[in-house]
């Protein structure tokens, strides 16, 4: 079998894995968008914030240590404990729920009924705010998050493919774990939305705010719930990305990558987010490998997704799975 072909398959598989991570972020967007019509630009920063908080809690960092030290001239940095990963994740989740409550209570309660674009800009403001708060709380240095996920090359796949094709595929264990987690997460969310009382209420709110309100669904509670769920998804995405490339500012930029994913998949569809993520992940890796690196000087991953989304928009504006909105201007 020709080497070029095998490499392409390897790139394809790696793209699939990267796509899963994009899909994880996009999932958070879809959840909030469906229930409240808010396009949450801060999702990426929430992932960053969650990862930073998790790291801080695990290593017993004192929140706002830098600020306190600067203002009062003290020298405190650590509480001096190291918590197990599971406990830290639970504590971080508590923080994310608190955040969801704060966001709902102090920002979006006042913006109900505003135009979508105003809400979008409010989330951009929230993103900046959260980024600043995260840096102030935990410091802006690059952290390596390690919650005990397996990392490095998967030897079994390497060996098997080597015996089979004469060329070992390089696939990261972390990506495999991420794919499994993403699959579980999606299954969990779908079950939650379909079969639980709160899930049904959530879908009712997504369908029609007023109708849901009139049959006794508390909008406020549902929105807090949705933001908490988005916080949970952000936490998972933050753990995966944090383990992959370190907890740092660039983490928040994956939110931007989620935009074209949503364009492809449609804003309102959970399976769409997954499929869109996979298409973008595979597409940009393959494009870089086959066309970008040899002919265009590389680093095409920066813009390929957006261009793909742009082309896609012209022909199918509602995305692959989105609800069709007919509008002609």
């Amino acid at each position: 079998m020709p080497e070029q072909f095998l490499w392409t398959i390897e790139v394809f598989l790696n793209g699939l894995m990267a796509g899963v991570l994009y899909a994880l972020v996009a999932l958070g967007f879809v959840l909030i968008y469906k229930a409240s019509g808010i396009f949450n630009f801060a999702q990426g920063v929430m992932a960053l914030f969650a990862a930073m908080t998790l790291y801080g809690v695990m290593n017993g960092q004192v929140p706002f240590a830098h600020l306190i030290n600067a203002v009062f001239g003290t020298e405190i940095h650590y509480f001096g404990w190291n918590l197990p990963a599971i406990l830290s994740i639970v504590l971080t989740m508590v923080v994310m729920i608190l955040l969801a409550w704060l966001v709902q209570r102090y920002i979006f309660r006042y913006l109900v009924g505003q135009e979508p674009i105003i809400l979008f800009m409010a989330t951009i403001g929230l993103a900046y705010f959260l980024e600043g708060v995260g840096d102030l709380m935990w410091g802006s240095d690059i952290k390596t998050l390690d919650v005990g996920l397996p990392q490095g090359i998967n030897l079994w796949i390497d060996e098997t493919t080597f015996n089979f094709f004469g060329y070992g595929f390089f696939i990261d264990n972390l990506d495999i774990v991420a794919s499994i987690v993403a699959a579980l997460l999606v299954a969990g969310l779908v079950i939650f939305a379909q079969y639980t009382k709160q899930g049904r209420a959530m879908r009712a709110v997504a369908d029609d705010h007023q109708a849901a309100l009139s049959v006794g669904v508390s909008l406020n509670f549902i929105w807090i719930l949705v933001w908490s769920l988005a916080g949970f998804v952000a936490l998972v995405a933050g753990i995966m990305w944090g383990a992959k490339s370190g907890v740092q500012f660039s983490l928040s930029l994956i939110a931007l990558k989620a935009l074209p994913v949503l364009m492809l998949g449609g804003f309102t569809s959970i399976p769409g987010a997954i499929v869109g993520g996979l298409i973008i992940g595979v597409g940009e890796k393959l494009f870089e490998f086959l066309i970008g690196a040899p002919y265009l000087g590389g680093a095409t991953e920066n813009w390929f997704a957006y261009m793909l989304a742009l082309l896609f928009l012209v022909f199918r504006p509602q995305g692959l799975f989105g609800e069709k909105i007919i509008e002609r201007v």
Partner: protein, 358 residues
């Protein structure tokens, strides 16, 4: 008492349709221009020009440009940084290719080229809007930055990949390069800022501006009353990109002098200019100035207070800056969606009735 239209009679149509119908406003405008042209250049030094006046003037142009697109025509753009980069690189190529031509012409041509690119990326706006358009402009942002990074023709094959502004003059006065005088660069930027503001103000008052606003308010209705959406949207993209291109050219050639594209014209620049017009006021020329002034002064102020007075580390102050800007955006959107310009308008309304408010 001074701020009244009473007693100010218009006897011709041109008087009736002037920009500032109230006499006090007119005099205030002339006074500001007078101070800006004849007083400030003699008082400023390098620090003032480089940290306050020049960024303010240049960002004002960019904010006016973006405000035309977002505030007047309602098309959200996140590609400002990319379009500024187009202006900067166009200016650089022109400066190196035609060393003898005046800088004024280079900057204007750079704006023209950016307008062309803007129209190209504005084409999708005919089919999509809202977030979808925002993503389309995001594509412009990332693609353009990548293009200027990778294609070495744009930076004349220099080894560092940076572009450096060579020394160029206008009427014998140095405008770019390391040996410029503070007042010369200040005045050069000021001319373009005043030019942009006057042109933008008059465009938005005229038929073109009304078409934009009709499209913004309700595109279907606008089409029915005879506004051509194709023309309105594309002119908005062209005019907006023209100003943004000018500001990019000035930002590179006059203000920074040397530019690395990803750093100077990245996505953060797009957001910065967008924040300026949100805080300043969407759909207001004065708002563009107010927003630019606010976001240029805030970091300077925080730095003076935080670093120089309290002696905090600079990174904490930078993070505080993020928190404050983000918080302000949210507060403005909740409390005063029309920004600082609306506060100004309210103040003027109060002033007209003062001292008898009823």
């Amino acid at each position: 008492m001074l701020y009244r239209e009473a007693g100010d009679f218009s006897t011709t149509y041109s008087q009736d349709s002037q920009t500032f119908p109230i006499r006090f406003d007119r005099w205030r405008y002339y006074a500001v221009l007078f101070v800006a042209i004849f007083v400030i250049p003699f008082m400023v030094n390098d620090y003032w020009v480089n940290s306050i006046f020049m960024p303010f003037l240049i960002y004002s142009i960019a904010a006016i440009g973006l405000n035309i697109l977002v505030g007047y025509c309602g098309q959200v753009s996140l590609g400002t940084g990319g379009f500024m980069a187009v202006g900067a690189y166009a200016c650089y190529k022109l400066m190196t290719a035609f060393p003898d031509v005046s800088m004024f012409i280079h900057v204007l041509l750079a704006g023209g080229i950016t307008a062309g690119v803007g129209v190209l990326f504005g084409l999708p706006s005919l089919r999509i809007k809202g977030f979808y358009l925002a993503v389309a402009t995001l594509a412009a942002q990332f693609f353009l930055v990548w293009l200027f990074n990778r294609v070495s023709w744009f930076y004349n094959y220099s080894a560092s990949g940076q572009i450096n502004a060579p020394e160029r003059d206008t009427f014998g006065i140095l405008i770019t390069g390391p040996n410029t005088e503070a007042w010369a660069t200040y005045l050069f930027c000021l001319i373009f800022t005043v030019f942009s503001a006057v042109v933008a103000r008059n465009l938005t008052r005229g038929s073109v501006g009304r078409e934009w606003m009709a499209i913004r308010d309700m595109d279907i209705a606008a089409e029915i009353i005879g506004v051509n959406p194709l023309r309105a949207k594309l002119t908005a993209f062209a005019v907006s990109s023209f100003f943004v291109g000018i500001s990019g050219a000035l930002f590179f050639a006059v203000y920074l002098g040397a530019v690395e594209v990803g750093e100077a014209f990245g996505i953060t620049k797009s957001f910065l200019v967008l924040f300026m017009i949100i805080i300043g006021g969407l759909g207001s020329i004065f708002g563009s100035f107010a927003g630019a002034a606010f976001l240029v002064l805030l970091p300077v102020l925080l730095k003076v207070v935080g670093v120089d007075w309290f002696g905090w580390p600079t990174d904490i102050v930078a993070h505080l800056n993020l928190v404050i800007v983000g918080g302000l955006i949210v507060i403005f959107l909740i409390v005063e969606p029309h920004g600082l310009a609306q506060l100004w308008r309210l103040a003027k309304e109060k002033l007209r009735l003062w001292p008898f408010p009823h």
